[in-house]
């Protein structure tokens, strides 16, 4: 059993460590700072209140990512939540390229945004992503491939996408 999750100080360390990761993942999924705030709180409250025994740091990370994605998905399953959320206009980047790339990703379907974010930002491998999302690696590869194709069209073939 991984000892670091047994007391509140250790849990705080873990929350501080993974907070940014979960926030940015949630933001890419929900496209809204308000929703991302809600998801992040939901994820970490569940973590704090969970009796689950984690085996390693990687296990915690995978669990948090999976819960975050599920929470984002559930958010849009609720009838009161908007199905289509406008892109976050308050995120301003200092270069046009960053803005183009970031907003192009936000225009992708939700499931493609997740794999793109985990692959390019979290630098997870296809195998790791498939393990976290509990899906086949061939599914992940196929989603990555389709996402890249869509991004290539949106970004007019630029930014070195293959």
């Amino acid at each position: 059993m991984y000892e670091s999750t047994t007391n509140m100080d250790n849990k705080r360390e873990i929350v501080e460590k993974y907070f940014d990761m979960i926030y940015k993942l949630s933001l890419s999924q929900t496209k809204s700072r308000d929703y991302a705030d809600e998801v992040v709180q939901d994820v970490f409250i569940r973590f704090i209140n969970s009796d689950k025994k984690f085996e390693s740091d990687e296990h915690i990370k995978a669990w948090l990512i999976r819960v975050a994605i599920n929470c984002c998905h559930n958010m849009f399953s609720n009838s009161w939540a908007k199905k289509t959320v406008p892109l976050s206009e308050d995120i301003v980047f200092d270069t046009k390229e960053k803005g183009d790339v970031y907003y192009a990703v936000l225009e992708l379907p939700q499931k493609y945004r997740a794999v793109i974010h985990l692959f390019y930002y979290e630098e997870m491998s296809v195998a790791e992503i498939s393990k976290v999302l509990k899906t086949n690696s061939s599914t992940v590869k196929s989603q990555l491939s389709r996402a890249r194709k869509m991004l290539k069209e949106k970004l007019k073939g630029g930014y070195g996408l293959v």
């Binding site: 409250i45 960053k98 390019y120 930002y121």
Partner: protein
């Protein structure tokens, strides 16, 4: 390049770290849903077991009640399913379901004068329609395709010929069929038809669900 820009963009995003204190405060007061869910699952499991036990205990009664409610034979069900669908197009005759007519005879022939036109038809009870063997269906379909073609020349829509059943009358056997065509991704009814057993006469027909009549005009043999 893409990866660099995407990483840089995400690194530029300020996260709302003030939430962390909020999270720990909320975690203290938020009820632990896990336990409630666990209890709920036990109750669901108990209810499921109870239901299964009841089912086994009253299995014979359930089967008996179920059989008493089944009135339609497999053949009737098959034929009903095939003739109940209605076309989307307004100018196609409305398809109605064949229902048993309250006549003493199973099949009777009649002539009617409908709007000054002599129309011959027969009334058939559901029981009288028998399934047509697959080989016969193929044979009939082949003949109809030779006669009318595989597709409409004007629209290019592909034809489908369905043989619903055969009714035996004292005047011979009559196949009842449906002539459809593919429009886009679905099939659409053009007309119902009757075809005599010799396959020398084919008439467009209409079905009347109230009376159980199949009506056609004998002066309009589509094979002539």
């Amino acid at each position: 390049m893409f990866k660099k820009y995407y990483k840089d963009a995400n690194n530029d995003i300020n996260t709302n770290r003030q939430l962390i204190d909020n999270i720990f405060e909320s975690a203290k007061i938020k009820p632990q849903k896990g336990k409630k869910i666990a209890l709920y699952r036990y109750w669901v499991a108990i209810a499921a077991v109870f239901f299964v036990v009841l089912t086994f205990a009253f299995y014979d009664d359930i089967v008996r009640l179920n059989n008493e409610n089944i009135n339609i034979t497999e053949t009737q069900q098959s034929i009903e399913q095939q003739v109940t669908r209605q076309s989307d197009e307004e100018d196609v005759p409305q398809m109605t379901r064949l229902v048993p007519e309250s006549t003493e005879e199973d099949v009777s022939r009649f002539s009617r004068n409908i709007e000054g036109e002599s129309v011959n038809g027969f009334a058939v009870k559901m029981d009288n329609f028998m399934e047509v063997p697959e080989s016969k269906i193929e044979e009939i379909t082949e003949i109809l395709m030779q006669k009318f073609g595989e597709k409409d020349e004007e629209t290019g829509n592909i034809f489908i010929f369905e043989i619903v059943g055969i009714a035996e009358t004292e005047w011979g056997g009559y196949y009842l069929g449906r002539w459809k065509w593919f429009v886009g991704d679905h099939s659409s009814l053009l007309t119902s038809f009757v075809l005599n057993e010799d396959m020398t006469e084919l008439y467009e027909c209409t079905l009347n669900s109230e009376t159980g009549d199949v009506l056609w005009n004998e002066e309009r043999n589509m094979f002539e």
